[in-house]
Amino acid sequence: MDPSVLTTLKILITGESGVGKSSLLLRFTDDTFDNEQAATIGVDFKVKLINVDGNNVKLAIWDTAGQERFRTLTPSYYRNAQGAILVYDVCSRQSFSRLDAWFDELETYATNTNIVKMLIGNKIDKDRREVSREEGLKFAKKHSMLFIEASAKTKDGVQMAFEELVQKIIQTPGLWEADVTSQRGLSLSDRTQAGQPWSCSGYCSMV
C-alpha cells in the first residue's frame, strides 16, 4: 500500500437505470464519456486516488446496476460504505420520483450510521428538463444530503461532486480510520485464536 495514502474510502453509487451512474463514474475516473455506455450488470468497481486538502485518499467506488432485477444483489454492497451517491436524471421525472425508494434502501442497508449522502441531478446538458434544480435541492435538504447538478457528458460538476463528498467524509469524525491495514491485520491474528470461521482479514479490516 502506498504509504502516503491517508485512508481508503468506500463509496457507492445508486439510482434508477439509465440516469448515468456509470457515465458519471467514468467521467470522474477516466475522463471519458460514451454515448453508448453499456447498462451495468450487477455491480462494477473503480479505484481512484485523489488529493483532498493535501491528503491522498484512495477511493474504492462501487457502481451498482439500477435495473430492478439486479437490485436484490446490491444491498450487500452498502456495507461499510462511507459515502453514497444517489443519482437521478433531470430529464426524467420518473427517475426523480423513485428517489424515495432508493433513499429508503440506503437507510436500511448502510451500516455506517453517519454515512455521507450526496444527491446528483445528472444530464443537465440535455434540453427538455423535467425536474427543476429547486426540487432537487428540496429533496436533498429534507434528507440532509449534499446536492449538485452535473453532466457526465460535458463534465460539469462531476469532479466537484466527488471532491466535495470526500471532503465531507474526511471531516466526519469516526466515519473513517487512517489506513493501518498491514499492521492491524498482524496484531489481530496474533491476539485472537487462529481461524475464526467466516472472517477474512483482508477486505473487512477496512471497516
Binding site: 453508448e36 447498462a39 462494477d44 435495473q67 430492478e68 432485477r69 491476539r191 470461521p197 477486505y203
Partner: protein, 904 residues
C-alpha cells in the same frame, strides 16, 4: 527583610553540640513551617463547621528522634468540601477565635462516621500525627513525655494552628496523646482504652461525675451533652439476618436438574450477601445534665423517641457475582484449544463426508429414531447415535431439556412447547427492559433477543458454568450439529430465526449462517415440489378486466407448436409482444442468491481483484450475468417468439424509448431500444442470442442448496469449542447487558450503574462489529459489567430486606441514598417512614425482651462539653471536652483539657 537574611548568612550558629531533642524540635518546626501551619504572620479564618465526612487529605514526612524513625503526617479536610451552603455564609473571621477550640465545642461535629478516629473523637478537621515508623511502638511513659514536651516547645515556637499528636502503644489500639497551644491556652489531649468497663462509664451520670472531677473547677454552665446509641442489623450479630431473605441461587443443590427457567436466563447477583450490616444510630444533641437522667437504675433516654436517627450501611467488599463468574469461564472457553474429538473421544468424530460409513450409521440411527419428529413426539426422542455411545458428559434428560429449549418445535405444536419462540423477534430490547434503553439497542450486530442464536448463547454459558464446562459445551454442540443436519436432510425448517428469505447482514455471522441453512432447506423443499401453478391462457379468458381483448383473441392452444409451448409464466403484463402481438408474460424466475456477509466480502474482494480497467469490468459483468441469462431463458420460455425488445421492456423499461413520430396518418408512438442496448457487440445482445428458452426449474441452479448446506454443516461440525464460543461471544455480551438492564428498574436512580450501562452498551456495539473479534476487548469489558452487577445486587439485597418491614413511597430513594452516600439521616427518628421500617426490623431481632422493643445497642457514645476556668479561678475560661465510647467489651475515653498557661 533582605538585610535580615544577609545578616543570618554571616551569623554562625553552632549545632555541633545540639542535643538530640534540639535536632528533633528544629526538624519538626521546619516541617510544620513547610506545611504552612504557623500562625505567626497570619490571621486564622475560623470556619464554624467543617464536614468531617468530607474529603480527607494527607501528606507525610520522615523525622527521627534519638535514632528512632518516625513518620509525621498532616491530615486535613479539603475546605472546598464544606458542602452546606448555609455554613459557608457562616464563615467568620474571629480574631480572638481559634479553629481548634471552635471545632472542639461545635456539637455539629459529633458522631461523624467516615473519618479518622482522631477526627471523630475530638471533632478536629486539621491535625498532625507522629507515628513510630515500622513496627516500633511507644510504650515507655518517659519517652512519651519527652516526646510530648519536645512537641509542645516546637508547637509553641511556631504557633502551629494544628494540634500535634503522638500515637502510643500498638497501632491498632488507636491511642494518641496530643498537645495544642493558642493565645496562652494549652490543650492536652489524653486517651485511655480499657478492656474492663468501670461502672462509672456505663451510664451518663457516672461520666458527668468523671468529667467534672477531671476539670477540677465548676463549669460555667451545665455540662452540654451529645449522645449516640448504635444498633446493628447484621447477619453476624445476634444470628439476626436469618429472617432477612437473601437467597442467592443455589446451583449446587440444583445439580443436573436445573429448573427450566434458569435455562433461558443468565445468572445474576452476588454469590455472598453484598450487605454486611445496617447500623442505626439514635442521636441526641444539645441536651444538658439538668434535663436528662441516665443512671444505672433509671434512664430518660428512649432511642425510639430520639429526634434523629442515622442509618448507615456496611458493605461486604469483593463479593463475587454470578454473571461475571460465568462470563469469565466463557472467556476461558474462548481461549481453549481442544477439539470436540479430543474432549469427547472418537465417538464424536466429525462426520466428514456424507459417504463415510460412520455418517451412514449416525444418520440411519437418526432417521429411525426421529420418525415421529414434529408430529406426535411430545417428548423428544434421544438420538440414536448417542445411544450407541456410553453417555456423554451431559445427562440425557438434561440434554433433552436443552434441545427442547433450542428447538422447541420438536416437542409438537405451539401449545405443547415449553419454550416457544416469540412470534416476532424484537431487534432492540424485550419488554422486560425499561423502554428508555431502546435507542441504545438498535445497533447491536449480534442476534435478535430470544432467537436461536441468543438461546444458543445463554445455553452455552449455562452449560459452561453449571454443566460439565467445556466438555458439556462440546457435547451440546455435537448434538446441535446433528439436529441441524437432521433438519437439512429431512426438510424441517430451523426455528428461532427471522424468516426474511435471505440472511440478514445486520446480525452476527453465526445467525446469518443459520438463516442461510434455512434458505437451503426451504430452497430444497421448493425445488422438490411440483412447479408452481402457472398463469395460463384460461386465466386470461376469465379475467374480467380484459374481457374484450380476450374475446377477440383466437383460440389459444393452437398458437404454439407442441415443441414450443409457453412454460413458466408467472404473471401477465399489460404489454404485447412486438412481433406476434400476444400478451407478454412475466416469467417464473430462479430464487435469488442468498448471501451471508463472508460471501459478500469474498465476492467483493474477488470483484476488486479483477481490477478497475475495462477488462475487469467486462469480467465482472460476465460473472454477474448468470442471473441475467437465467432471466432471459425464463423469459424466452414464457414468451415464445419474443424479441430482445420485448425482454428489455420487461427487464429494463428505461431502455425502451418511445417517441412520437409524425407519419402520414398523423401522430404515432414509436418505440426503440436505447442507444446503449443497440450498440454493436454489446453484452446484452450477445447474451440474448445465446439464451435458450428454458423454464426456471429446468435451468442450471444459480443457488446450489446442497453445496451451501453441506459447506455450512461441515464447518459447524469441525468447530472447536473455542470457535463456537467466539462466534457466540458478541451475543453473550449483548445478553449480559440485557440481563443487567432487566435488574435496573426504571424508577431507580443509580447514576453510576446507569452511566456504566451506557458505556458498556456503546463498547459492545462497537466491538461486536469487528471481525475477526478481539478477545482482549471483551475481557476489558468485564470490570464495568462487574461494577454494574455488584451495584445492582447491593440495591436488590438492601431493598428486599427493608421492604420486608415496611414499604413506602420513598423506599427506592432511601435505599439509593443509603447505597451511594453510605448514610442517611432520618429526621424524626423512628417516626420517619424509613425509621419505622428499621424499628420493626430491629424489633424482630430482639430476642431478649427489652422495654424499648430494641435489642441492646452495640455501641454507646457520649460527648460531654463545658467551659471552665482552669487551672485556677484566675485563669481564662477555656473549653473542656470528653468523648466516651462504650461497646460490649471495652471503653474508650478521649479528653481534651485546656488550661491557661499564664494566669492561675
Amino acid at each position: 527583610m533582605a538585610d535580615q537574611e544577609d545578616e543570618e548568612v554571616f551569623e554562625i550558629v553552632d549545632f555541633t553540640s545540639a542535643s538530640e531533642w534540639e535536632v528533633f524540635i528544629s526538624r519538626l518546626e521546619e516541617i510544620l513551617l513547610s506545611w504552612q501551619l504557623s500562625l505567626k504572620d497570619k490571621e486564622e479564618v475560623v470556619t464554624s463547621f467543617v464536614d468531617l465526612n468530607g474529603d480527607w487529605k494527607s501528606s507525610s514526612e520522615d523525622i527521627s528522634f534519638a535514632g528512632h524513625p518516625f513518620i509525621l503526617t498532616h491530615h486535613w479536610v479539603e475546605q472546598s468540601t464544606v458542602t452546606n451552603e448555609v455554613n459557608k455564609v457562616e464563615l467568620v473571621t474571629d480574631k480572638k477565635g481559634c479553629q481548634v477550640f471552635a471545632s472542639l465545642m461545635d456539637n455539629r461535629h459529633d458522631f461523624p462516621f467516615n473519618c479518622l478516629p482522631l477526627a471523630k473523637y475530638y471533632g478536629l478537621s486539621d491535625f498532625v500525627v507522629i507515628t513510630p515508623a515500622g513496627n516500633e511502638m511507644l510504650t515507655s511513659e518517659d519517652r512519651i513525655n519527652l516526646l510530648l514536651s519536645s512537641i509542645t516547645i516546637a508547637v509553641g515556637n511556631i504557633q502551629s494552628r494544628a494540634p500535634v499528636f503522638v500515637q502510643i502503644h500498638s497501632k491498632s489500639q488507636q491511642l494518641y496523646q496530643g498537645t495544642f497551644e493558642c493565645k496562652n491556652l494549652r490543650t492536652d489531649f489524653q486517651m485511655v482504652h480499657l478492656k474492663r468497663i468501670p461502672p462509672t462509664c456505663k451510664c451518663l451520670s457516672g461520666l458527668i461525675e468523671l468529667f467534672k472531677d477531671k476539670i477540677g473547677s465548676t463549669p460555667l454552665e451545665p455540662v452540654d451533652l451529645s449522645i449516640c446509641w448504635t444498633y446493628s442489623l447484621s447477619d453476624v450479630r445476634n444470628g439476626g439476618w436469618e429472617k432477612w431473605p437473601q437467597p442467592p441461587p443455589d446451583f449446587e443443590s440444583m445439580g443436573g436438574v436445573v429448573g427450566n427457567a434458569a435455562l433461558g436466563q443468565l445468572g445474576f447477583g452476588a454469590i455472598r450477601d453484598p450487605i454486611k450490616e445496617i447500623r442505626v444510630s439514635a442521636v441526641w444533641t444539645g441536651l444538658n445534665e439538668d434535663v436528662v437522667v441516665d443512671s444505672e437504675v433509671y434512664s430518660d433516654l428512649d432511642p425510639v423517641q430520639a429526634p434523629l436517627w442515622i442509618a448507615r450501611l456496611v458493605l461486604n467488599e469483593q463479593v463475587p457475582s454470578l454473571l461475571i463468574k460465568s462470563l469469565c469461564s466463557f472467556l476461558d472457553l474462548c481461549r481453549s484449544s481442544e477439539s470436540i474429538e479430543q474432549l469427547l473421544g472418537k465417538n464424536y468424530t466429525v462426520l466428514q463426508s456424507p459417504d463415510s460409513p460412520e455418517y451412514e450409521r449416525a444418520l440411519g440411527a437418526l432417521t429411525k429414531e426421529r420418525k415421529g419428529y414434529g408430529l406426535l413426539s411430545s417428548n423428544r426422542l434421544p438420538f440414536g447415535s448417542k445411544k450407541a455411545q456410553t453417555g456423554g458428559p451431559i445427562p440425557e434428560a438434561m440434554m433433552v431439556n436443552l434441545l427442547n429449549y433450542l428447538f422447541p418445535d420438536a416437542e409438537g405444536d405451539l401449545e405443547s412447547q415449553t419454550h416457544p419462540y416469540p412470534e416476532q423477534f424484537q431487534t432492540d430490547c424485550s419488554a422486560s427492559i425499561d423502554s428508555t434503553w431502546k435507542e441504545f439497542f438498535s445497533a447491536f450486530k449480534t442476534s435478535p433477543v430470544d432467537s436461536l442464536v441468543w438461546r444458543l448463547a445463554t445455553a452455552a454459558v449455562y452449560t459452561m458454568t453449571h454443566l460439565n464446562g467445556i466438555e458439556g459445551v462440546a457435547h451440546l454442540w455435537h448434538e446441535i450439529v446433528l439436529e441441524l443436519r437432521f433438519r437439512w436432510e429431512h426438510g424441517y425448517t430451523i426455528p428461532g430465526l427471522e424468516t426474511g428469505g435471505v440472511p440478514d447482514l445486520n446480525y452476527c455471522r453465526l445467525y446469518q449462517k443459520l438463516q442461510m441453512l434455512n434458505c437451503c432447506i426451504n430452497h430444497k423443499k421448493a425445488g422438490n415440489s411440483a412447479p408452481p401453478v402457472e398463469a395460463t391462457d384460461e386465466d386470461e379468458f376469465y379475467d374480467a378486466e380484459e374481457t374484450l381483448e380476450s374475446m377477440e383473441a383466437t383460440p389459444q392452444k393452437e398458437r404454439h407448436s407442441v415443441w414450443n409451448q409457453p412454460q413458466g409464466r408467472k404473471e401477465r403484463t399489460k404489454m404485447k409482444l412486438l412481433r406476434s402481438g400476444e400478451t407478454l408474460y412475466e416469467p417464473v424466475t430462479q430464487a435469488l442468491l442468498p448471501m451471508t456477509e463472508d460471501m459478500v466480502e469474498e465476492q467483493s474482494e474477488m470483484m476488486e481483484q479483477l481490477g478497475d480497467n475495462a477488462e475487469g469490468s467486462e469480467l465482472r459483468a460476465r460473472i454477474l450475468s448468470a442471473s441475467l441469462l437465467s432471466d432471459m431463458e425464463a423469459f424466452k420460455a414464457a414468451n415464445p417468439g419474443a424479441e430482445m425488445e420485448d425482454f428489455v421492456r420487461w427487464h429494463s423499461p428505461r431502455d425502451w424509448i418511445e417517441e412520437e413520430v409524425m407519419t402520414s396518418d398523423g401522430c404515432k408512438m414509436e418505440g426503440r431500444l436505447s442507444g446503449r442496448m443497440q450498440a454493436p457487440g454489446n453484452l446484452w445482445q450477445e447474451m440474448w442470442r445465446a439464451a435458450k428458452p428454458i423454464v426456471a426449474w429446468r435451468q442450471k441452479r444459480l443457488f446450489d442448496d446442497t453445496k451451501e448446506a453441506e459447506k455450512i454443516l461441515h464447518t459447524f461440525s469441525a468447530l472447536r469449542p473455542a470457535q463456537i464460543a467466539t462466534l457466540l461471544l458478541p451475543t453473550v455480551m449483548h445478553a449480559s447487558i440485557h440481563r443487567l438492564l432487566e435488574e435496573l428498574r426504571p424508577n431507580i436512580q443509580l447514576p453510576d450503574a446507569v452511566s456504566n450501562c451506557r458505556a458498556a452498551i456503546a463498547k459492545i456495539v462497537q466491538i461486536a462489529r469487528h471481525s475477526p473479534l478481539d478477545l482482549q476487548q471483551y475481557e476489558d469489558l468485564l470490570p464495568v459489567l462487574q461494577k454494574i452487577e455488584v451495584r445492582l445486587s447491593q440495591f436488590n439485597s438492601l431493598r428486599r430486606r427493608i421492604i420486608d418491614y415496611g414499604d413506602w413511597e420513598g423506599i427506592d430513594e432511601f435505599v439509593t441514598r443509603l447505597l451511594i452516600d453510605g448514610n442517611v439521616s432520618l429526621t424524626g427518628g423512628s417516626h420517619s417512614p424509613a425509621g419505622k421500617a428499621l424499628l420493626k426490623a430491629m424489633g424482630s431481632l430482639n430476642k431478649k425482651d427489652t422495654s424499648s422493643g430494641l435489642p441492646s445497642p452495640v455501641k454507646k457514645e457520649f460527648v460531654l462539653r463545658a467551659m471552665a476556668h482552669r487551672p485556677g479561678n484566675g485563669s481564662t475560661c477555656s473549653c473542656q471536652k470528653l468523648f466516651c465510647s462504650v461497646d460490649e467489651d471495652s471503653v474508650r475515653l478521649a479528653g481534651a483539657w485546656t488550661q491557661d498557661t499564664l494566669f492561675y
